[in-house]
């Protein structure tokens, strides 16, 4: 498992319970129990953030649904914001596994490869649009500690876009002089803002994807080799 971002909670990069790491024997049962609590809380939180939004879901409700005490939620996570950050992180594992599988097979122009990559994102997030929105709202939440702020913690997505652009430079359809970070930021903001169509107008995956395709077209005009 590649490490990404700063680990937010204890055990973030711990291996799954099925393959316990050999460690100090006396620590293991406790570690496993903590891990189980953590997973149950994340599971319950995912459901509640999705159905009630970030503000609407209380830590008490999350604890009740997870079948653990409020106290043990707080010994595992520092805040509700941290729980959300971990829910989002956990969901990304599956997305990145899918991307790792598909990316080597993408063909076509740089714009087309980017389109395919973002289409995978939209298809993946579609059943969780409300959760994604809870995430965006929480990014601006006043009470969230800076360390748990979820916004923009997607270094892996940035790496994928960068690889895509590098390949384009090598193949000659991306201007080597263009500022790649600038392009990456524009693509990521276009991606994030496209979700407003889902949030505000109930747009489906096909609509989101086609709007993103056009946006990528416009951004590609900005990085095209002249």
């Amino acid at each position: 498992m590649p490490s990404r971002g700063e680990p937010i909670g204890p055990g973030l990069s711990a291996p799954p319970a099925a393959a316990p790491q050999p460690g100090p024997a006396e620590n293991r049962p406790r570690q496993t129990q903590k891990e189980a609590t953590r997973n149950r809380v994340i599971e319950a939180a995912r459901e509640l953030f999705d159905s009630k939004g970030y503000q609407g879901a209380s830590v008490r409700e999350i604890a009740r649904l997870a079948g653990v005490s409020v106290g043990s939620v707080f010994t595992t996570f520092a805040s509700k914001g941290e729980i959300l950050a971990e829910v989002m992180q956990a969901r990304l594992e599956a997305l990145y596994a899918e991307l790792d599988r598909v990316l080597p097979h993408l063909r076509g122009s740089t714009a087309d490869r980017l389109r395919s990559m973002f289409a995978i994102h939209f298809a993946f997030e579609a059943p969780r649009t409300r959760l994604f929105l809870a995430h965006i709202v929480a990014a601006y939440d006043w009470t969230m500690p800076a360390g748990a702020r979820p916004f923009g913690k997607t270094p892996r997505l940035q790496d994928i876009i960068r690889e895509c652009l590098d390949k384009g430079v090598a193949e000659g359809d991306v201007d080597p002089a263009c500022d790649q970070q600038e392009i990456i930021d524009l693509l990521m903001s276009a991606y994030a803002w496209t979700y407003r169509l889902a949030a505000w107008e109930g747009a489906d995956v096909a609509t989101l994807t086609s709007v993103m395709d056009r946006q990528i077209g416009l951004i590609a005009q900005g990085f095209a080799k002249r």
Binding site: G53, Q55, L133, I136, V137, A139, Y140, D141, W142, T143, A146, R149, F151, G152, C178, D179, E182, I183, D185, L186, S189, A190, A192, W193, R196, A199, W200, V211, R214, Q215, G217, L218, I219, Q221, G222, F223, A224
Partner: protein, 216 residues
């Protein structure tokens, strides 16, 4: 109210003379709005309560509720005042620009300058704007729609001047410019970027987003 001349009703039109009562009410509203702006800036939207706002304005919660339906109503009122002022500031900034790149940069700049002393309020605005409950009423209102419309107007004017080519993607390009403008707020809010840093970034974003529309 001796200093206010009585207004003659012309024909059937009834012109309302502000009574002492209406003036007092306006004054109360202004006081509440001022206190609310202060508290939303300090505590965010969720953190500020009507009770705190009433206390800061030196009145009862009842008096606040006599003027505003609820907290979201109060917040919207503040946002509308700001958005209208910002739209004006952006148009004024645009009129000082030379060429579409410079015009857009001045518009971005006017926005960041407008909010630089009240970033916490901008943060609350994003939070409310995206929220399921209070977002729709804030976003659908006229002042909120006027703001992105400025960008489309400027692109159309540049096409009319022959600076940019005619194209079908004006609305999308305008939307993306507006999104780029908004996308820099997290840097401004959370990372304390200076106006100069925001300006440098905006300039690059504008260049990339206009590339396909340029003539020649």
């Amino acid at each position: 109210m001796k200093h206010i001349a009585p207004i003659q009703a012309a024909g059937e039109t009834v012109v309302k003379v502000p009574t002492r009562r209406t003036l007092a009410k306006l004054q109360t509203r202004a006081k509440v709005l001022l206190a609310a702006r202060q508290l939303f800036s300090e505590q965010g939207y969720e953190g500020a309560t009507i009770r705190d706002i009433a206390a800061a304005a030196g009145m009862s919660t009842g008096a606040v509720f006599a003027n505003f339906a609820d907290k979201s109503d109060l917040f919207r009122e503040i946002m509308f005042v700001d958005m209208t002022a910002l739209t004006g500031a952006m148009r004024e900034a645009a009129s000082r620009g030379k060429g579409i790149d410079d015009i857009l940069l001045k518009v971005f700049d006017a926005g960041y300058d407008f909010y630089k002393s009240q970033m916490p309020l901008a943060r609350a605005a994003f939070s409310v704007g995206w929220s399921r409950q209070d977002g729709p009423a804030l976003r659908a209102a006229e002042p909120a729609l006027d703001l992105p419309a400025v960008f489309a107007e400027l692109l159309l004017a540049a096409i009319a001047r022959g600076e940019l080519g005619k194209e079908d993607e004006v609305p999308l390009r305008a939307q993306m410019l507006f999104d780029a403008y908004l996308s820099n707020y997290p840097q401004a809010i959370f990372e304390g970027w200076t106006l100069e840093a925001l300006q440098a970034r905006s300039r690059d974003q504008i260049r990339v987003l206009l590339a396909g529309a340029r003539l020649g």
